[in-house]
């Protein structure tokens, strides 16, 4: 309903600098009632910074924020909440040991006389909110028992319990399955119908087309464009974001297939049963599965981070179970899908994070040669265009996508035979994605074997020479070659069983 009404939220000329970085250089953004307005841009473009300013976590250096036409100043998250703004961060901030209901009404519990909590009201009101979001679940269940998607809905319920009129989501779908994404979209549409304004940040452009009315593009802290999604071509979005055309997202060129490098035989453990695969030199092999299919556990099992049965050999040598150290020594690397919990050393520098695995290579009798280490780090930063004011910057201050690139870089410095990537491009922008796929292609041409574990179908189809599907911990069907692969069949093969179960 386009009207003469004042926008719900109007940001004008917002600027924010950190030591060594101008994150935002005077940007505008507006959100109307009942619209979904997407914000996209390269890694480090300033999207999350803008969100944190709206949330009251950071204060802008310049510029104004208006809510329903009135100028406001947010000094803390409480100020922002007061104006009925709710941010759903990617790292959800729920209390895992409390129940759903307690989390939804945290700081806002319904009370009876003598300030006692009115449990009955608490549970019934939570149930109502949850049902409204299509979540039929006992409100007394603790948060720790929920999936990420369910937790996200709890966050939204929390927003609704406070009658939020502005809901902001920062990369909400990166850990959700396709069906979960669709139900999230259904919820967003319902909120939209009630006049809630939704600001939506994502690197997945197809989602923008599925859910957003308008889209704004930032590049390097500057506002590049704001357009109606219906009038905007995919190609234009990419060009606005990256500043150039990305011609070849998947630059895979056939390489010479050499000897077998990685042999995984009847692997079992976790929810994985009897899984076998092999990777040859010069190959990019992908395992595709839905969230929860075991595709991520497979990496941990092969790498020896989980107890396992079955055998894993690299160039014919058995890799010890439960010893990532042995795996690396024999030439196997593993990029995990969980960058915060399993990858990043948040208090350490970008340099220390990048050289974590390879630091022994720059050391003599344990003494690190600082010059060599710095040179190696600088090379990686250039190669992956990691945006940082310097190699000594603490990695916690990098944007999400740049943190991810640093973790990719960590494995490029070690001399490996096979590199396993679990969700290699999670949170990474289109331009950098192409860059990482090109690196994979290079590595294959140099005689390495690449194993990609992914829930992203386009990625799998674009980059892999052969694909196998994992479904409920077992391999579903035969190997599919790059030529045979088609989206419909792969999706069906990965899904069909699941639906029967549900």
């Amino acid at each position: 309903m386009p009207s003469v009404q004042k926008p719900l939220l109007q940001l004008t000329g917002i600027a924010k600098a950190f030591p060594g970085t101008k994150a935002l250089k005077g940007v505008d953004f507006s959100l109307r009632a009942g619209e979904v307005h997407a914000l996209i841009g390269e890694n480090g473009a300033g999207k999350s910074t803008l969100i944190k300013i709206i949330a009251g976590l950071y204060q802008q250096d310049a510029g104004t924020i208006e809510v329903e036409g009135k100028k406001v100043a947010f000094h803390s998250p409480a100020d922002s909440l007061e104006h009925r703004i709710k941010v759903v961060y990617q790292e959800l901030d729920l209390v895992p040991d409390l129940s759903i209901a307690e989390n939804v009404f945290l700081g806002n519990l319904p009370k009876k006389a003598l300030r006692a909590v009115d449990w009955q009201a608490l549970y019934s009101r939570t149930s109502e909110l949850l049902l409204d979001l299509g979540l039929d679940i006992d409100p007394e269940v603790p948060i720790s028992a929920l999936t990420v998607a369910q937790q996200q809905l709890v966050e939204i319920a929390r927003a609704l319990s406070r009658q939020a009129q502005i809901i902001i989501m920062d990369e909400p779908t990166s850990a959700l399955s396709q069906t979960e994404i669709e139900s999230l979209f259904a919820v967003i549409r319902r909120l939209q119908g009630r006049g809630v304004g939704v600001m939506y940040v994502s690197h997945k452009l197809d989602e923008i087309y599925a859910i957003a009315d308008r889209v704004t593009v930032f590049r390097d802290g500057e506002h590049i464009a704001t357009e109606a999604v219906a009038d905007t071509r995919h190609k234009d979005l990419v060009t606005w974001m990256v500043g150039r055309e990305v011609k070849d997202l998947y630059p895979r060129s056939p390489a010479v297939r050499g000897d077998v490098l990685l042999e995984v035989d009847s692997l079992s453990g976790g929810n994985i049963e009897n899984f076998s695969l092999n990777v040859h030199a010069g190959e990019i092999v992908a395992v595709f599965g839905l969230m929860g299919s075991g595709v991520h556990n497979l990496g941990r099992l092969i790498f020896g981070d989980m107890p396992r049965a079955g055998s894993v050999r690299l160039s014919g040598e058995e890799i010890q179970a439960q010893s990532p150290m042995d795996a690396i020594r024999k030439g196997l690397g593993f990029l995990t899908e969980n960058r915060k919990s399993d990858g990043l050393l948040l208090p350490l520098s970008v340099k220390d994070n990048i050289t974590l695995v390879s630091v022994n290579n720059y050391a003599n009798l344990m003494v690190i040669n600082g010059q060599e280490e710095r040179r190696a780090t600088t090379d990686i930063i250039k190669k992956l265009s990691i945006k940082t004011p310097g190699i000594a910057q603490r990695i916690r201050y990098l944007s999400g996508g740049n943190q991810q690139k640093s973790l990719v870089g960590r494995w490029l410095l070690e001399d490996l035979k096979v590199l396993m990537f679990s969700e290699p491009t999670r949170g990474i922008d289109v331009g950098s994605k192409a860059e990482i796929y090109r690196l994979m292609d290079d590595m294959a041409h140099q005689g390495m074997g690449i194993l990609v574990l992914s829930t992203e179908l386009p990625e799998v189809m674009g980059i892999a020479d052969r694909i196998i599907i994992i479904r409920q911990g077992k391999s579903a069907g035969r190997w599919i070659s790059r030529q045979e692969a088609n989206e419909q069949d792969l999706m069906t093969a990965a899904t069909v069983q699941m639906e029967k179960v549900i």
């Binding site: 060594g20 990532p324 399993d342």
Partner: protein, 334 residues
């Protein structure tokens, strides 16, 4: 993408001054340096005795035991663990070493036995914390009592020096080129482990296992081994402190060292090492120990009731925790 603000090695004097100012005002080391310098200036004005070679020698010798233990504790805290048992070690190592010296008159043997106790207790601490999975604060608090019990079990009274080995007395009271031996030990230990922590792969791994043990494991780092090394190192350095203390006191006392663990841990925290692991500063620890010694020395020089010396530790811990909270607030949500 790499631009030049955080760590270029430009040589302009202006740049140097900016960086020095940043260090002074914005880092915990800088703030500590500032405080220590201010108190030194104050004491120099207040007391003609303060800034004399003799008094500075006394000041540094007095804190050398705490300092040596704190060096190990810094590494242990960065690795995400802690050792509260170092206080009782002062007593237990003291009584055992003195009785070994008395019965064998062999200085080398006495020292080896003392350090071996350090290794053993460090291994037990790491075993309880890492194998049995008991939080290291709880585990080593238990060890604090157990080791104290061992000291009391070993002897009911203090053990006097009956061996009269002259070199033994030198350890805590002698001079080398005019500098007291304890200060030389203190500076040597500090320099060695400053280097180990900042320039070696072991130092890097210590930071990594403290920052994120799961990520460290997946990077092929032997997490338990690194932490175990931290426990043993701390305990051995505590034993070394105990030997110096023993020489200074010239008798093994089973009740000595009460509160010593608080002093060492407090200094490490005040130096800017985080209780949550992964970050810390050896220079900070050095400055914090210096502050501790300066306050104690000042209390004596200004003729304040010397019972307050004990309270200084408490003060240090409160300042440490306040500074830590301030730093965390500044880091904010990421």
């Amino acid at each position: 993408m790499l631009d030049s603000s955080a760590d270029t090695s430009g040589t302009g004097i202006g740049k140097f001054l900016t960086r020095a100012a940043h260090w002074l005002l914005h880092t915990q080391e800088g703030v500590l340096f500032f405080i220590v310098a201010a108190i030194w200036v104050f004491l120099t004005i207040q007391s003609p005795v303060f800034f004399t070679g003799r008094n500075i020698g006394v000041l540094l010798s007095q804190v050398s035991m705490t300092a040596i233990t704190a060096v190990g504790m810094t590494i242990l805290l960065i690795s995400g663990e802690i050792d509260a048992s170092v206080g009782s070690m002062q007593a237990f190592v003291g009584v055992v070493v003195m009785s070994v010296l008395n019965s064998t008159s062999n200085l080398a043997l006495g020292i080896v036995v003392g350090l071996a106790i350090g290794v053993a207790v460090g291994l037990i601490n790491s075993l309880i914390s890492l194998r049995l999975g008991i939080n290291s604060l709880i585990a080593t608090l238990a060890m604090l009592s157990i080791v104290r019990g061992a000291a009391f079990g070993f002897t009911e009274a203090s053990i006097q020096n009956t061996h009269k080995i002259p070199t033994f007395t030198e350890i805590g009271n002698g001079f080398f080129l005019g500098v007291p031996w304890p200060i030389i030990f203190f500076f040597a230990v500090f320099l060695i482990f400053y280097f180990v922590l900042s320039r070696t792969t072991f130092g890097r791994f210590v930071h990594a296992v403290g920052a994120n043990p799961e990520a460290a494991t997946l990077a092929g780092i032997p997490v338990r081994l690194v932490k175990m090394a931290g426990f043993v190192l701390t305990s051995v350095l505590a034993a070394f402190s105990a030997i110096i203390l023993l020489s200074r006191l010239n008798s093994g006392q089973n009740g000595i060292g009460a509160g010593f663990e608080l002093e060492a841990i407090g200094a490490v925290l005040l130096g800017g090492t985080s209780l949550s692991g992964g970050e810390g500063s050896m220079v900070g620890t050095f400055l914090a120990v210096l502050l501790l010694g300066t306050l104690k020395n000042g209390i004596v020089l200004l003729d304040i009731n010397s019972s307050w010396q004990v309270a200084v530790t408490g003060l240090i811990i409160i300042i440490a925790v306040l500074l830590d909270a301030r730093r965390r607030r500044r880091l904010g949500q990421d």
